[in-house]
């Protein structure tokens, strides 16, 4: 009897404690926003530092900081901190005219000196600015910045639009020149931060442009895609970025979630060591391409059949994607692939693996785990190449092994998620990847003079028709020569709260256009 009473008391205590611990945490969902001027964003991106070369991309997308040049949804240069710019007839002197009412978040005016200081600093940091032949950056007048080039470079505005070239107030830097405060000039200012996972933004009192409807933003980085999907499903955030393929498919069928998707300028490519004795001819590379079942990978792994890449860049990158019917498409044809290899002298052995001059056709495929679908695509390719008679060893390792393997010459094949929108125009990445000598993430030991020459012409050419012709010829040459083999494109899925209007998904990931968003009436 006594024991029973003790047991009952202890049980009720335990129940009470558990209930209390559950109830002390009041539930709040993003949907409960009453003010309707706040926005809650969840994404996978972490901010471990405020340094523009490392984390500037998120502050640019969130409209905290501005670059001298902005871009529109099609990737064309648009006014940013500079309302307009002029270029001298010889293409060497660029003059940028700053927006007169621009102020940093500490209230200080944006001056030509502060812009020049930021750009000079960016030039010395890892980024893209060093790709331009910049001779000097100077303040020509209180609101005019002059950039002198040693040779014409038409893509300069695109480089200036990059997140590593965002302009911060002089007070943002400490005595060592490190960024200690995020003081940009965009509509939103950083008011609270718990790095690396969350920060809060509020409308800056110094913003003189159109006043946005969203005045307060909370960003939370959630690294697990499973958690992000559950957050989206239960409306605990208004904008949720990036899901794994399985969650994306589930969310697409969830009537309570509005999904917006955009094809990114990012392609999963098979980087080939074209100097390798097995891969140093076009026919072998074409055979590899013909053996890839892109539709199967896109449907089975990415759960989105349209993402099968029949050329390097997706349709959303209109300037570079070749939509004409005469343009040859990449496709699958295993029988043709086998014929091409047989013509190279490869003969199947007893285990089905091809042999030539006593050597097995065996290659290592290196990939990275940063995007969870990559190792799965790599094993799919392993199986598809096995059917062709090629033995593939898959190595999943740190992303830096790809550029390192490129430099040491030890890389045989690499499966990489190449971002062609490092700056809004894919030209810059293409130039990095396919210039003479190739690129860390692009061509490797590829002997070709045509593509580098065309890239050089685009860099200096400003006439649109000529540029379009060069772009076509570059894409055609890459399609035929296959220094890298496109496998699938990427799609950025965004779960949007049903009452949030004006959401645009930028395929170039330059901005979230938060200042254009509005909450619809209940």
């Amino acid at each position: 009897m006594f024991l029973y009473s003790i047991r009952r008391r202890l049980l009720s205590t335990a129940t009470a404690m558990l209930s209390l611990s559950l109830l002390v945490a009041p539930a709040l969902t993003a949907a409960d926003n009453t003010a309707k001027s706040s926005l809650s964003i969840v994404g996978p991106w972490e901010i471990s530092t405020l340094e523009p070369s490392r984390s500037g991309y998120l502050f640019l997308r969130m409209q905290v900081a501005e670059a001298l040049v902005g871009t529109d949804l099609e990737g064309k240069a648009a006014p940013g901190l500079a309302e307009r710019w002029e270029v001298s007839p010889d293409g060497l002197q660029w003059r940028f005219f700053l927006r007169p009412d621009a102020r940093f978040h500490d209230g200080s005016p944006v001056t030509a000196e502060s812009v020049a200081m930021n750009l000079q600093r960016a030039l010395g940091q890892p980024g893209v600015l060093a790709m331009a032949p910049i001779a000097s950056i100077s303040a020509a007048a209180p609101r005019e910045v002059n950039i002198a080039l040693s040779q014409p470079y038409a893509m300069l505005p695109m480089l200036l639009a990059h997140s590593s070239a965002i302009i911060l107030a002089p007070a943002a830097y400490n005595e060592k020149g490190q960024v200690r405060r995020m003081l940009g000039s965009g509509p939103y200012q950083l008011v609270r931060q718990t790095l690396p996972q969350q920060f809060e933004l509020a409308l800056s009192p110094h913003w003189r442009g159109r006043q946005p409807a969203i005045r307060h933003i909370h960003y939370l980085s959630v690294s697990r895609p499973e958690t992000r999907a559950l957050i989206a499903e239960s409306h605990q955030a208004d904008l949720v970025f990036g899901f794994d393929p399985a969650s994306t498919q589930r969310l697409r069928h969830n009537p309570k979630v509005v999904m917006k998707e955009a094809d990114l300028a990012r392609t999963v490519t098979l980087k080939l060591n074209s100097g390798h004795r097995f891969l140093n001819n076009v026919e072998t590379r074409q055979a590899l391409s013909l053996a890839i079942n892109r539709a199967g990978i896109a449907k089975g792994i990415l759960r989105t059949p349209e993402l099968a890449a029949d050329q390097l860049l997706p349709p959303s990158i209109t300037q570079w994607h070749q939509a004409g019917p005469e343009f040859p498409r990449l496709h699958s044809d295993l029988a043709q692939a086998k014929k091409l290899l047989a013509a190279q002298g490869w003969r199947p052995g007893t285990d089905g693996i091809l042999h030539r001059n006593g050597e097995r056709f065996s290659l290592a495929l290196t990939t990275l785990p940063d995007r969870p679908e990559l190792p799965i695509i790599a094993t799919a390719l392993q199986d598809q190449f096995r059917k062709l008679g090629i033995e593939v060893k898959v190595i999943v390792t740190n992303s830096s092994e790809i550029p390192l393997g490129h430099r040491t010459g030890k890389l045989e094949m690499g499966l990489v998620p190449r971002n062609f929108a490092l700056v809004p125009d894919p030209f810059v990445t293409l130039n990095q990847d396919f210039k003479h000598g190739g690129g860390d993430w692009g061509a490797m030991n590829w002997q070709n003079g045509e593509v580098p020459a065309l890239l050089e012409k685009i860099a200096s050419e400003t006439e649109p028709a000529a540029q379009a012709r060069y772009r076509h010829d570059i894409m055609l040459a890459l399609q035929q020569e296959l220094p890298v083999i496109p496998v699938t494109w990427y799609r950025l899925p965004v779960a949007v709260h049903p009452q949030l209007q004006g959401v645009k998904v930028d395929p170039l990931e330059q901005s979230y256009y938060i200042s254009d968003m509005v909450w619809s009436a209940q």
């Binding site: 335990a14 404690m17 530092t49 070369s53 890892p126 718990t194 959630v222 740190n398």
Partner: protein, 323 residues
């Protein structure tokens, strides 16, 4: 009593110095013996895979002086350590001590909440089942303990998000702050794993106490069950439970790494995972030292708690010292 505790503290302080030296040296050699090029790995951690290039890696190599010989690097590290300087993070360039201070506070908050919650669950369950061993409640508790301990924390966390956040709407799935119940789900996920075992330890200790001669004597001399439990039972049963709580720290530290990532909790476990991927050697070494010292501190606290709870241990220590 004070004399015994001060001797214990002195011994533990010596241990802490040895642990700090050993952990820092071993972690230094371990990090430098990992495969791959250090500069490339750090560049990937800093700039992400889109921007890691050979040029960025060489800039990192020059900036951090990664070309210096290993022995010189070790001597520099020891020199820093003697000045209580853990260096600057390779990834963020901020002082490691500042990063750890910020992150460790979050982890401590999560760990202590999980521990408190696990005690709140395990003790009542353990005591009740221990008072009636082999009853239906004991069997159910055993089955639940096995299931909860066998569940990987990651899966348990997902299930709790599904149940408490998505279905019932009691709390948010992830929120790295006190607000909106951000602490509840990660703490509960860890606590359930801890309580699964500590409830069984408490139960066994209670069974042992109930079978003991002193408990039966207390009942025989006329004390009620409740008084016998309060005066003679709980204190005796507490010693193994306290000792086991110290052991559970290992489970706790193992759990926070995945739990912090799952629930976006900005603690040291999450930071450690990132530091390992990005080869942030100063951060890893600093974290390893702090973790090592934390274990020494916790073991000291457990020892003191056991000495306070159990007079027999104080007696034994005094006798050993006299001998």
């Amino acid at each position: 009593m004070l004399n015994i505790i001060s001797r214990l503290l002195f011994r533990r302080c010596l241990q802490a110095v040895i642990v700090a030296l050993l952990v820092s040296t071993v972690s230094f050699f371990l990090m430098h013996s990992l495969s791959g090029d250090l500069a490339f790995r750090i560049a990937a951690g800093r700039y992400g895979y889109d921007m890691v290039t050979a040029a960025a890696a060489e800039a990192v190599r020059a900036e951090l002086g990664l070309d210096r010989p290993l022995l010189q690097g070790l001597l520099l590290w020891w020199q820093q350590l003697l000045q209580f300087d853990l260096g600057d993070s390779y990834l963020t360039s901020a002082p490691v001590i500042d990063e750890i201070r910020e992150q460790f506070g979050h982890t401590l908050q999560l760990a202590l909440s999980a521990l408190a919650l696990s005690i709140a669950i395990a003790l009542p369950v353990g005591l009740v089942t221990g008072l009636n061993p082999h009853g239906w409640l004991d069997r159910v508790s055993l089955a639940l303990s096995i299931i909860l301990r066998a569940f990987p924390p990651f899966l348990l966390g997902i299930l709790l998000i599904l149940l408490l956040s998505s279905k019932l709407g009691i709390t948010n799935a992830a929120n790295a702050s006190h607000e909106h119940g951000g602490l509840l789900l990660p703490a509960l996920t860890l606590a359930l794993g801890l309580a699964a075992v500590s409830s069984r330890v408490a139960r066994d200790a209670m069974v042992e106490v109930r079978r003991s001669a002193y408990f039966n004597f207390a009942r025989t001399k006329g004390l009620s069950d409740l008084l016998a439990l309060l005066r003679h039972g709980i204190r005796n049963a507490a010693v193994p439970v306290i000792a086991y709580l110290g052991v559970q720290l290992v489970f706790l530290m193992e759990g926070v790494i995945i739990i912090e990532s799952l629930f976006a909790w900005p603690g040291i476990g999450h930071a450690l995972a990132h530091a390992v991927f990005g080869r942030d050697i100063p951060m890893i070494q600093g974290t390893a030292i702090v973790m090592g010292l934390l274990f020494v501190l916790c073991n000291t606290l457990v020892d003191i708690a056991c000495l306070v709870a159990d007079p027999r241990q104080r007696y034994l220590v005094t006798r050993r010292a006299d001998a």
